[in-house]
Symmetry: C2
Subunit: 353 residues, 2 copies
Amino acid sequence: MTRVDDDGLICYSGGVFRTMESTMTKPIRVAVTGAAGQIGYSLIFSIAAGDMLGPDQPVILQLVELPVAMQALEGVGMELDDCAFPLLHSIELADDPMQGFKGADVVMLVGAKPRGAGQDRSDLIKSNGPIFTGQGEAIDAVAADDAKIIVVGNPCNTNALIAQSRAKRIPKKNFTAMTRLDQNRAVGQIARKAGVAPADVHDVFVWGNHSDTMVPDVSLGTVRTGSGTKSVVEAVSADWLGGDFDKTVRTRGKAIIVARGKSSAASAAMSAVNHIHDWFLGTGESKITSMAVPSDGSYGIPEGLIYSFPVKITAPWQYEIVRDLKVDDATKTRMMASAKELEEERAAVADLL
Amino acid sequence: MTRVDDDGLICYSGGVFRTMESTMTKPIRVAVTGAAGQIGYSLIFSIAAGDMLGPDQPVILQLVELPVAMQALEGVGMELDDCAFPLLHSIELADDPMQGFKGADVVMLVGAKPRGAGQDRSDLIKSNGPIFTGQGEAIDAVAADDAKIIVVGNPCNTNALIAQSRAKRIPKKNFTAMTRLDQNRAVGQIARKAGVAPADVHDVFVWGNHSDTMVPDVSLGTVRTGSGTKSVVEAVSADWLGGDFDKTVRTRGKAIIVARGKSSAASAAMSAVNHIHDWFLGTGESKITSMAVPSDGSYGIPEGLIYSFPVKITAPWQYEIVRDLKVDDATKTRMMASAKELEEERAAVADLL
């Protein structure tokens, strides 16, 4: 497309013209903890670029770090300024969630002690739990009434439960944890195996805890190929699905640590962006997505556990657990095992709830 | 927007539906060096997310690293898979540019020895130069005939000159270096000072070398406020423009290193994304942007130097240097000093050209 400017110069723009809406739409306040950490550093630039809340939605970033990391966070803030992001309304930095969560519409709890090489999630439960009591209290005290929360810091399901228990003012169902990374890993594996782009794989999801007890589920999954759309179970072999696929998805976090020497950062950040994007803007061509949300007792999962279900987005910031799916016995057994693990995690932090 | 699926379920999607174009549009091949490095790690996920080439353009990422970094690069490749990016057609990893640049439509030369605390750009010229002879030769041998090149690794202007000299097959004007980060820094400073969003500041640019001799120029710059659009010189004080503003923009790289303990990464990556985005898709609401491109002798800048000019994008992958701007004497003096620095850099690497 070409256009003629006031001064008669012809300008070319093949993209969408940046609109003046950025000065008119009310900004959304997004608080992020661990903002100077590995995941945070990938996440916040993606948010500011509009990947999470859409290309017309201004955002205020409220970045929270530990006091010891505030100088690094200042540097990150300078870099955000230096990007001149059209949608970035303003930036606030805080070393206290009571300040950093003020008025936040979206709270992304990313900061946590990372899992090192050789460590597993269960080692983290006790050390990370107390962080989330304080953050839950800060959400209760100062966040927006209808704040939406995603917990990324592990063990994320149980950390979400802890934060939720300290924030009675906020609707319980607004507390979610991230299993979208697991779903994305499953989609990536299937796309590669089927020889299609990830855009051609839909409606794969995961049940349960974000741990190696999670249950990838392809029963609703589809693959679009040159010759039409098939179910995942038609497109790839049952042996692979029950073997390498399942194991790869469940243990991918550890494999990344082995390869990179650090835990997943950018892929975790992009998945957090996907989680919030879809919660707000819908799932596009997919009918469902995975979110760990408070169980309502569906499928026999104990009520209140933060458990990954297939959900449908029915309106901005509204999700519904997909009910009445037919689940085979083997899957059901594994779903209950993952629920049992979450009950044990809940018991381990009972003094914090 | 809501829609009714085949099975009668109502789905919500407030965003644009992901289109099937991703399976129909020919992918663009983008080669990136230093892909597992700090800037690369921010850059490639942003490319895969569609920030650089637009939301409907599939991409093939050809990631290049030193042999010693290939294991880390494998991990990055795994994380890219794990994001299930709809636009990411495929990924190729290589430890040799002769393989990694094969058929590349866009070549982003990011890898270089980073500038450490206390070091300045001139220390890098001799150590980084030889990297770019080999990469220029690989571009000449295997990249697409009309490949577009951006050099990010410093000293980027002179590195671009070196690569260009070894790639006679490729049009000279396709070799560019990144000064968009400097422009973005200038815009960010003005937005903050004027109390507007960066989206409201346009047509600020920089002349010269990506070094502290660069010349930020606000003579065409505008600021949109609640009460209308003003020139930058009306919106902020001349004292500030000639003082803190100028100095902050020119020395920002060092200030970031002091704050973060590392050089700019995400902001450099986002600026590289902006550079290629605008070259391909136009400058949107802005009339011009900054690119370091081969001088055609305009403004008395010696022909052939890779020098930052204000450019207009006239069609996809077509830029034109904006000629015949009125330049005041003080600015002209500084522009020539920056050109002189680039002539000295060229002399220092004469044996490589």
